[in-house]
């Protein structure tokens, strides 16, 4: 069976939960598998994803209908590769309302595109309620619950929340391990290309030959390289497993639907 084309949506109703980082990790993972993903940055003001992939990222302002068309019409076109959306928390409601209204998921499926939402809740109960709502509304798309260790444990309110309890049993999950604060700043350095870093670390290649003031912090010490490499490859493994599961879930749904 040919590799599926994916539309991966990194989403959270909350700011600062690691959306752009996860979008970068997804992009690196896909490019290591030979895919050349298209990237969409929906934060037209901050453009954090664009900072990492200048020239490769399409900036989308979801308040504008022409931009909505640019985004969804590209997503639904016969794609050369997978596509990744870094969805700003400010456009969270708007995006999913739109996706629902235009029936995007089914339209994508008809063209062999699987939509998968990577949902990152924070520790508060509202984010579990909104996450469950997305999962319920888009039952035809994949849903991956992302547990980012950097965000801490769910609050007491969240633990007693029925949405939290429902989502607690969700599969698949992607765990992002806790990372040392120095490594976090290294990984968030805009000079760092995660795919290049991962390729080098797999091939046990030396850091790029650059003057130290231009070199990403991630390459500066062996400890930094090893720490980030371990974190990154663990994340890749989680993502690989999650996508295998959502693909399988999609096949089972298709199988049931057509009764093959």
């Amino acid at each position: 069976m040919p590799e599926k084309k994916h539309v991966l949506i990194v989403a959270s109703p909350r700011p600062r939960v690691g959306k752009t980082l996860l979008a970068r990790v997804l992009a690196a993972h896909l490019s290591l598998t030979g895919d050349d993903p298209k990237l969409f940055d929906t934060d037209a003001a901050d453009r954090r994803l664009t900072a990492f992939f200048p020239g490769k990222t399409t900036i989308i302002d979801l308040e504008r209908v022409p931009d909505q068309m640019k985004l969804f019409d590209t997503l639904a076109a016969e794609p050369a590769g997978s596509q990744i959306i870094d969805l700003t928390h400010r456009s969270f409601g708007k995006f999913f309302r739109l996706m629902h209204e235009i029936g995007y998921v089914a339209e994508g499926k008809a063209r062999g595109i699987e939509t998968v939402v990577f949902y990152i809740p924070d520790s508060e109960h509202e984010s579990y309620e909104l996450g469950l709502d997305v999962r319920t509304r888009f039952s035809e798309s994949g849903f991956v619950l992302v547990k980012n260790a950097a965000l801490g444990e769910p609050s007491r309110d969240a633990l007693n929340n029925s949405s939290f309890m429902t989502l607690a049993g969700h599969s698949p999950v992607v765990q992002l391990r806790l990372l040392d604060p120095f490594l976090v700043s290294a990984i968030e350095d805009v000079r760092l290309s995660l795919s290049e870093f991962a390729r080098r670390s797999m091939l046990r290649q030396m850091p790029p030959p650059l003057p130290s003031d231009q070199m990403s912090l991630a390459y500066l010490s062996l400890e930094a390289r090893n720490g980030i490499s371990a974190w990154l490859h663990a994340a890749f493994a989680e993502i690989r497993r999650a996508l295998r599961t959502t693909d399988l879930q999609a096949d089972i749904v298709a199988h049931d639907r057509f009764g093959v």
């Binding site: 739109l98 235009i102 029936g103």
Partner: protein, 241 residues
Amino acid sequence: MKPAVIIVGADKGGVGKTTISRTLLDYLASRNLLARAFDSESPRGSLKRFHPSVTEVIDITAISDQMKMLDTLVSSERKINVIDIRAGQLSSTLRAFTDIGFFDAVRSGEFRFALFHILGPSVASLEEIADVLPFTGGKNYFAVKNFINETSFFEWDPAVYDSYFKMAKGAVELNIPKLNEMAYEQVDLSGVPFSTFIKNKNAQGHNANSSLVLRGYVRTWLKHVFDEYDRVGLIDRLTDE
């Protein structure tokens, strides 16, 4: 099935009569009811542009054209007739239909009849209600509030509105929601029925390559319009024996 006539009109222009007629033709087709349409914007009808195969352009003031419509009600296999009355001719058309004896035939059960009175956001629209109501006796009178192109709210005072509406015993209020302007314009440029646009086809039945986003807006909007027609039991009102 008895022939049914739906008159879509307003005395004021620019309130979206043709748009409403178009949604009606889509709605009836979606319920597998054969309909034909008459467009009184003679000589060039805009309804005809969107639904050419079922629409005939007529001059509603000409006796010969009135005959063309009413004398074929029974013989036509298309039992539901949507008549889009051009601006300013609603009252006069209703008067002409009265003179012909059309409303007597409706009262005696020969035909089904519904009036879609399209109200604009101005108070003048409310005054029209009083002019138009006596013709129908309130039965199957639909006061259509058309929000499709409106961003502002209707300027009616609720108390005034209620007083007009009370005169209309059995009158039914219909709300047509707003449609995104770009989507509306794109359908307009395509010159096809809303349902055809949603299916991504052009007038020749070929793939149209319309934007998924715009089609999505139209699909959701049309569904809400259909839900409104369902809510008031339009089909039953037109087909009940």
